[in-house]
């Protein structure tokens, strides 16, 4: 199984889907001739040409709205946002149009658009470029929100997103683009292709003492924290990767809670009205009796993103903050 980067995995997914379906088209700022601001689309324009890979002007409301309109007619546009922070510029199109056209038309119109790009802090680019808006979009019925944590998931989830008949917003992570994971080639797979259904969480690490529930880069930090907790403190931590926020794998959440009876939620959203607030509510409503103690959380510290490279890493969930929070919880083995 080759080791490839998260970025390469996404690139493979896009290329395979362009090949598979002639209606798939990539549109975004710098995706074509420049090869992508983060090089996710590298080589695709050279290979597939102007019709399939299209450079858009800096005009998020315009081109995302255009993608929504084209998708209603049967085109399957995959739109790149240079940063998910810029989704706010296109919010009307992404929420008022993409999320609701199916509903308001009584099911007459499909909107199979994908919007993708990096959504995360941690790159010292200040408050306007560091948003993690999965909670905003996941709160809107009609939308699907996917947050891959590994190259394997990035490839499989992206392919599923493109094949999906609803709007799917895929939030990638700049800090993961260069990281490598094992991803099977299609020849190595019995099914012939890596497609991961949306709405299926992945147990990234099994354990008995505590469940960490996370998504995106927080999964990676949680796995590292789990190693530290095992090695230094003898705690056996389970890490559940949600992979998609909506649809949400509630069954997997409840199963891990019922197994370990202790929960820490790790989420790069801020704590106020974030994804972790929602998951804590679900657990409280449906598995309260299975809890040995309060549900705890590690989130991004509730302020706009600080620029300072010396401080920003501490604002985000990281190994140290996760380990410290777990020790605070005083879990009995």
């Amino acid at each position: 199984m080759p080791l490839i980067t998260y970025r390469q995995a996404l690139n493979e997914a896009l290329a395979e889907e362009i090949e598979r379906d002639e209606n798939v088209v990539l549109i975004g700022e710098e995706v074509a001739e420049y090869n992508g601001a983060y090089k996710v689309t590298e080589g695709l324009w050279a290979k597939y040409g102007d019709k399939r890979v299209v450079d858009a002007p800096i005009s998020e409301a315009g081109f995302i709205g255009m993608g929504v309109g084209a998708s209603m007619l049967g085109v399957r546009p995959v739109m790149e946002l240079m940063f998910w922070s810029f989704a706010y510029v296109a919010m009307d199109q992404m929420i008022n149009n993409a999320a609701t056209v199916r509903y308001m038309s009584g099911g007459l119109i499909n909107c199979p658009i994908v919007v993708r790009g990096p959504a995360n802090g941690g790159t010292n680019v200040g408050a306007t470029h560091s948003h993690t808006p999965e909670n905003l979009f996941a709160s809107m019925p009609g939308l699907k929100v996917v947050v891959p944590a590994t190259a394997y998931d990035a490839k499989g989830l992206m392919k599923a997103a493109i094949r999906d008949d609803d709007p799917v917003y895929v939030m990638e992570n700049t800090l993961l683009y260069g990281e490598k994971w094992e991803v099977p080639t299609n020849d190595e797979l019995e099914e012939g292709e890596l497609v991961i259904p949306l709405g299926v969480a992945d147990l990234k690490r099994e354990g008995t003492d505590l469940s960490i529930i996370a998504h995106g880069r927080c999964v990676i930090e949680s796995l590292k924290a789990a190693e530290v907790l095992k090695h230094d403190h003898g705690l056996d931590v389970e890490v559940l990767d949600l992979r998609s926020i909506r649809p949400l794998d509630e069954d997997a959440i409840l199963a891990t809670v019922r197994k370990t009876n202790n929960v820490l939620l790790v989420d790069e959203n801020r704590p106020f009205c974030g994804v972790s607030s929602m998951i804590a509510t679900i657990i409280q409503e449906k598995a309260f009796d299975d809890l040995d103690g309060p549900i705890m959380r590690v989130n991004t510290i509730d302020a706009p993103a600080i620029y300072s490279p010396g401080v920003e890493p501490h604002q985000l969930p990281n190994v140290d903050r996760i380990v410290a929070k777990v020790l605070d919880m005083q879990i009995s083995k």
Partner: protein
């Protein structure tokens, strides 16, 4: 020509006075029956709306009711040009286009009543009529928000290799939204076969066009010049002119895949919506009456047809009567139709959930269900 738009008219269509648009090729193709049919379509829209107003005032409908009365020649003229790959999308003042594109009065009226038999199963309401099978993509509530969608439909037409176009309507207030300018830029840049149609009725709610748009004397469509896009101004009370000039734009879209901006001057007789409490304050009574007396597109077209010998006054009355009966019958249909079930609230959100496919079994789509 609406008074407040005289300057626009000066710019491009002043010469239109001299042109006899009935002799345009696209109009010469109309048979006498076709012409009467255009009249019937306009009357149907008017009757549908008059009857809906009556019921709205009885309190049986929710939300807004934005009436199209006074503007009928625009929808009927432009929609009569539809070919297999011509698509239509508009704003919340959407009843006229819906009927002109062949939607059934029953499903439209039932939608106003919020009934399960409505075109959107009671989920959209007055502002959200859709009929994708008739190339009608709605009915959109955010001022200007539909303009990138219109560009996208045109992008789709082109991408799929069809010879077609998208007619994307908006009011004069919409042209100040950023989304419209982004859509214009994309249309000009990417040669999209889209026709942006500004239905200039002179007002956005209570604000006259003069108080909302910079540089009005140039004409609202003239802003297209900055994007290298052809534009024109049309007298919206003359169906011949509407058809001839819109067809010119559609041919540009079909044959050159180039966009056009058309400003069609028109007037609405009622308030912005029925809920417009100031409907009579921002326009004088005289102004409204003058339009109704001198510029009513129905009367104007009726007179032309009588003059041309295709219609008698009695026949016109008969068309009127039939349209009114049709509208009343649609209201009866709507009244007798059931509301959606409360459980229906959860349908039509996600594709697979509606179809019960395997995919829908993964994860939970709805909380607290």
């Amino acid at each position: 020509m609406p008074a407040q738009n005289k300057t626009n008219a000066d710019k491009k269509s002043a010469c239109s006075k001299a042109v006899d648009y009935s002799q345009a090729e696209i109009n010469k193709q109309l048979t006498p029956e076709d012409k009467v049919e255009l009249y019937r379509q306009m009357v149907r829209i008017r009757k549908f709306e008059q009857i809906s107003l009556k019921y709205y005032n009885q309190g049986v409908m929710g939300g807004f009711l934005h009436l199209y009365i006074g503007q009928e020649a625009v929808a009927v003229g432009t929609c009569s040009l539809k070919g297999d790959h011509d698509h239509y999308i508009t704003t919340y003042r959407d009843h006229g286009h819906a009927l002109a594109l062949g939607m059934n009065m029953n499903e439209c009226m039932a939608e106003l009543f919020g009934k399960a038999t409505g075109c959107s199963k009671g989920k959209g309401g007055s502002m959200h009529f859709f009929a994708p099978d008739k190339n009608y993509w709605g009915g959109h509530g955010i001022v200007g928000g539909q303009t990138p969608l219109g560009a996208g439909l045109a992008y789709g037409v082109k991408y799929l290799g069809h010879k077609g176009s998208c007619l994307c309507y908006m009011g004069d207030g919409a042209i100040n939204q950023g989304a419209y300018h982004e859509a214009l830029n994309l249309a000009g840049l990417w040669d999209l076969p889209v026709i942006f149609i500004i239905e200039n009725n002179g007002y956005s709610m209570g604000t006259s066009q003069k108080r909302s748009s910079a540089h009005p004397e140039e004409g609202l469509a003239a802003r297209a010049e900055g994007y290298g896009i052809e534009w024109d101004v049309i007298n919206g009370e003359n169906i011949y002119e509407v058809r001839a000039k819109t067809w010119e734009a559609m041919e540009r879209a079909h044959n050159e895949s180039r966009p056009t901006v058309l400003e069609i001057d028109t007037y609405r007789y009622y308030g912005h919506s029925v809920a417009d409490a100031n409907a009579k304050k921002y326009r004088s009574k005289e102004e409204i009456e003058r339009y109704q007396r001198e510029h009513d597109p129905l009367k104007i077209w009726q007179n032309i047809l009588i003059e041309e010998g295709h219609l008698t006054e009695d026949e016109a009355k008969q068309i009127d009567k039939e349209a009114k009966e049709e509208a009343l019958a649609s209201a009866k249909f709507a009244e007798e139709s059931p509301y959606p079930e409360v459980a229906d609230i959860m349908d039509d959100i996600y594709y697979e959930v509606d179809r019960g496919t395997d995919k829908a079994k993964h994860g939970k789509y709805f909380f607290n269900d």
